[in-house]
Symmetry: C3
């Protein structure tokens, strides 16, 4: 299995979610993040009480998929999240060694979807 | 070392934390997340100002452990986080190549706990 | 590529960011987290509505870098985030198999910075 981690524009999330769902990818974990790429945060706001910094608000979307579906899912993300302007985001792919559905104890392939 | 990432029901966190602590696992990082599995979010609320979506609130618990303790810790999570109802969550395991305690610069085994 | 994940004191973030930027590392993703190490959270507060627990507020900083820069970046983090007191944080290193810049579709080395 692979973890696909996409740091995207918040306003692109709904379109991405629909496209992934249409492709049969229902399993998603979403986190609020903030970041900088080459483009440094300008008027960025991050909702922390403990620190204030010039970062741009982003959404981190994580989906664990079977390796055979990796390229297809990467294409869906690129297609749905790019505007052509700086700040469209990044995708990182990393290995996942085990997946478990807590309710049933199922592992691997059976547990991913 | 392995990273265990568990996406669980928020209301199960306290029990899980106690069980892990009793097993000598004190090192935990917790993040607020939102997600969907096969079960699609219904009246989900996520505390974002930047986007509103139908996702269910979840807690992501990450703990880096030595490989020899992996199965034991997975069992503790499954036991403490399952209700038998859909939405109990998922566990993902991934490789960690280095661990460093910032205060001392210790690495590896010495830095995990 | 490697992912460096540092769980640090929130008050150290600005110094770390400046030091990384001076070293040419602009790509950072920041998340609010909460955690415990050996030191258990005392009067910790975490901004969740869904659970209340005794955890200490931390910042998770993630940066994906080329492997050849790994040791240098680890040193910058240790140097900028340690106070010598318990609770300075941890660093975890893990493998990243692919990096994509969504705007251009660039991959690998070209997409990291
Ligand atoms: N090397 C990196 N490590 C970790 N996170 C990164 C890295 N690079 C970018 N990010 C995350 O991705 C988000 C979006 O990055 P961004 O799209 O601005 O990348 P970029 O390289 O500057 O590309 P562009 O030129 O299209 O803006 C950042 O806000 C940050 O959260
Ligand atoms: N493939 C996946 N990739 C990333 N996150 C996932 C994936 N599958 C599930 N999750 C996360 O786990 C959370 C809980 O998932 P859930 O327990 O509903 O899984 P499920 O497969 O639908 O199992 P169940 O049938 O028991 O509900 C989701 O809200 C999401 O955050
Ligand atoms: N094994 C671990 N797995 C996941 N997260 C961890 C682990 N250990 C520590 N953390 C995270 O790192 C944060 C800081 O940990 P901390 O610096 O207190 O580590 P420590 O081992 O107790 O070292 P010290 O003795 O210097 O306090 C924790 O709040 C938690 O978020
Ligand atoms: Mg940019
Ligand atoms: Mg479900
Ligand atoms: Mg500690």
């Amino acid at each position: 299995m692979k973890k696909i981690e996409a740091i995207i524009r918040p306003e692109k999330f709904q379109a991405l979610r629909k496209a992934l769902s249409a492709a049969g990818i229902g399993g998603l974990t979403v986190t609020e993040a903030a970041g900088t790429g080459k483009q440094k945060g300008q008027k960025g706001i991050f909702r922390g009480t403990t620190f204030q910094l010039q970062l741009l608000p982003k959404i981190k979307v994580e989906t664990i998929v079977e390796e055979q579906r990796l390229d297809e899912i990467l294409d869906i993300i690129i297609k749905n999240c790019s505007t052509g302007n700086i700040g469209d985001g990044k995708i990182f792919v990393s290995p996942i060694e085990e997946t478990i559905r807590i309710r049933t104890g199922e592992r691997g392939k059976e547990a991913v979807l």
